[in-house]
């Protein structure tokens, strides 16, 4: 049970972290190789493909975290129930779009398999890279469905954050993070002197 919960919370996030570690180290390797030996032909392509997976996995991740960038000012002015209803309408429209895109990505990957196109440097079949769109839109569909279910579950709660409250929360997080690091540095500088 706890495994499922962990996956629900951190699935996209953990892959995104691994991808970021890959992008950084492979690009660094390339700089070393270029400076001291000669450049490889694969690192940039590899890093780009890691980034493409990042793009499509970020969809599900940000829906889950609720930190998609949006303009919330006008909605704040509306009464709670209207806001919540509009949010559900918007989410359902997005769900429909994700399902459609999911379906078309499958079709597109099928087409690419037929053409048999490969990437220039690593010779990886392109359809494998386009799997990122299938996985990405698939996960986005699941996350959005989860979101809509919780929308309905919380419909009668008065818990909707205004942009102001969300900004305040974000501000508090930033402050906590920076004070944490300040304590850290004071410990170390204390050790030096």
């Amino acid at each position: 049970m706890s495994v499922i919960k962990w996956i629900d919370e951190h699935f996209e996030e953990s892959i995104l972290i691994v991808l970021l570690a890959f992008i950084s180290s492979v690009m660094m390797l390339q700089i070393f190789a270029r400076t001291f030996f000669s450049a490889f032909n694969w690192p940039e392509e590899f890093a780009r493909y890691c980034y493409i997976w990042t793009v499509f996995l970020s969809l599900g991740y940000t829906i889950k975290k609720g930190n998609m960038l949006r303009v919330g000012v006008v909605m704040d002015l509306l009464p709670m129930r209207i806001r919540k209803s509009l949010e559900i309408v918007g989410n359902i429209l997005m769900l429909v779009v994700f399902i459609i895109f999911f379906r078309y990505s499958i079709e597109y990957v099928g087409k690419l398999r037929v053409t048999g196109q490969s990437s220039p440097a690593m010779q990886i079949p392109m359809w494998m890279m386009y799997w990122s769109t299938i996985v990405g839109f698939g996960l986005a569909t699941i996350r959005m469905a989860q979101e809509i279910i919780s929308n309905f579950g919380n419909f009668n709660k008065m818990d909707v954050e205004t942009t102001l409250e969300a900004t305040l929360k974000e501000a508090k997080e930033e402050v906590e993070l920076s004070t944490h690091s300040k304590e850290n540095s004071m410990e170390t500088s204390g050790g030096e002197s």
């Binding site: 690009m27 390339q30 793009v55 779009v97 386009y130 990122s132």
Partner: protein, 427 residues
């Protein structure tokens, strides 16, 4: 058709549909209404190919470098370094805080993070030295957002991705405007400090403490942090590395400095830091991807040409066009994040202003300057809330004290907009 695309896009935005999805809704409009547009497969393929470039990797990498470097009390080291030189002058300490914000912002690349890190350390300090708490918060909230103008800067990377203008040229062009805006804010800070009077005794006592540490030690402590932008910019301009490679180097440089020199990060903390970087850039990645697909649809509907025609037939002088655009950007900066605003608007507006003879690099500087001040403008400027939370003051009182600083910024912005030479001096 272009009109319908805009209507759907704007209505979605107003109803708080995420920006990325508003673009998708806009891009689907021609399909639904039966006009010329991209098929869904083309939309997917364009989102894919829009992400399939090496320069775009600079975005996550610069963000990670900033997250790593910004930890570990670097704000304090920078502040002591600047205070050493100017702390004893009239208004010297507030000016040292503004300088710290500008440099820290250049390193971290994030306005709210800058306000938080610099504010947490300097607001209590300024209050102890007898400066007004709310005023200090207003100053830091405004200065915190401006670090993104001084390179390395994510908004410039985004503008470069959206328009194809060289990242290196934009970075170079940001230096003088950043200094100018900081300079105007410092002039006001000095004026205010002199008018209100400063507690000279306390300040000179504190300054003795800071000077007692010796210039060499202060320099040594802040050296590694100050070196980071130098390495990045030096690497790019000497032609040794591309902006993307410079971003990679900044990641590993920050990692080495914070683990081995400042000892501010333990090995076990590396993964949480990667997680923090992911959290920051994930919402941007697919905005960038869908913006490519949306841009193609707009181009098929001839939207940039229509806007160009509209602007050219209604405004006669470059000045009036730029003024109008600056006002729009300032308003937009209050409600929308800098990144999406740039990737959506830059490709649409650039052709029009270019045909009026505005340099694309200069336009990028104007755009980034305008949007970055949005972080400090009420009602939703995040920096106001960050500074307010630190100082335990209502964000709206912070906003009131920030007004003169925002005006100082506006004067500088006016000069930057109408004198292209300020941006283009080094090019």
């Amino acid at each position: 058709m272009a009109l319908w695309i805009f209507v759907v896009f704007l209505v979605s935005l107003v109803f708080a549909v995420p920006i990325a999805m508003s673009m998708v809704f806009g891009a689907l409009t021609p399909l639904v209404l039966g006009g010329t547009g991209s098929s869904i497969q083309q939309l997917i393929a364009n989102s894919f190919s829009g992400s399939d470039t090496t320069p775009i990797l600079a975005v996550p990498l610069f963000i990670l470098g900033g997250v790593l470097m910004a930890e570990g009390g670097i704000s304090k080291r920078l502040f002591n370094f600047f205070a050493y030189f100017i702390g004893n002058l009239p208004g010297g300490l507030p000016c040292a805080v503004i300088l710290t914000c500008l440099f820290y912002g250049a390193i971290s690349g994030s306005g709210p993070a800058t306000t938080a890190a610099v504010g947490a350390m300097t607001i209590p300090f300024l209050v102890e030295m007898g400066y007004d708490k709310t005023w200090s918060s207003g100053m830091i909230a405004t200065a915190g957002g401006l670090g993104v103008i001084i390179p390395p800067s994510i908004p410039f990377v985004l503008y470069s991705l959206a328009t194809g203008v060289s990242t290196g040229a934009l970075f170079l062009a940001g230096i003088l405007p950043g200094i100018l805006i900081g300079g105007f804010m410092m002039i006001y800070a000095v004026y205010y400090s002199v008018k209100k009077g400063e507690d000279k005794e306390k300040i000179s006592k504190k300054m003795k403490e800071i000077r007692g540490e010796g210039l060499f030690r202060l320099f040594k402590e802040s050296f590694w942090a100050l070196l980071s932008p130098v390495i990045v910019l030096g690497g790019i301009y000497s032609g040794i590395v591309t902006p993307t490679e410079a971003a990679v180097i900044s990641v590993f440089y920050s990692l080495v400095v914070s683990i081995f020199i400042y000892k501010s990060i333990a090995y076990s903390e590396i993964i949480p830091f990667l997680g923090k970087a992911v959290k920051t850039y994930a919402p941007l990645t697919f905005v960038l991807a869908f913006a490519t697909a949306f841009g193609r649809v707009l181009a098929l509907a001839k939207a940039p040409a229509l806007i160009e025609g509209f602007i050219l037939s209604n405004f006669t002088s470059t000045l009036s066009v730029l003024t109008g655009i600056v006002v729009i950007f300032l308003i937009l900066g209050m409600v929308m994040d800098t990144g999406p605003a740039i990737v959506i608007l830059a490709p649409i507006l650039l052709p029009a202003v270019q045909s009026l003879g505005v340099d694309p690099v200069h336009f990028g500087v104007i755009m980034v300057c305008c949007l970055s001040i949005g972080l400090a403008t009420p009602p939703f400027g995040l920096d106001l809330f960050v500074a307010g939370t630190i100082a335990d003051v209502a964000p709206m009182s912070v906003a009131r004290k920030a007004v003169p600083f925002i005006l100082a910024f506006a004067v500088a912005l006016f000069l930057i907009t109408y004198i292209p030479g300020i941006s283009l001096a080094f090019l």
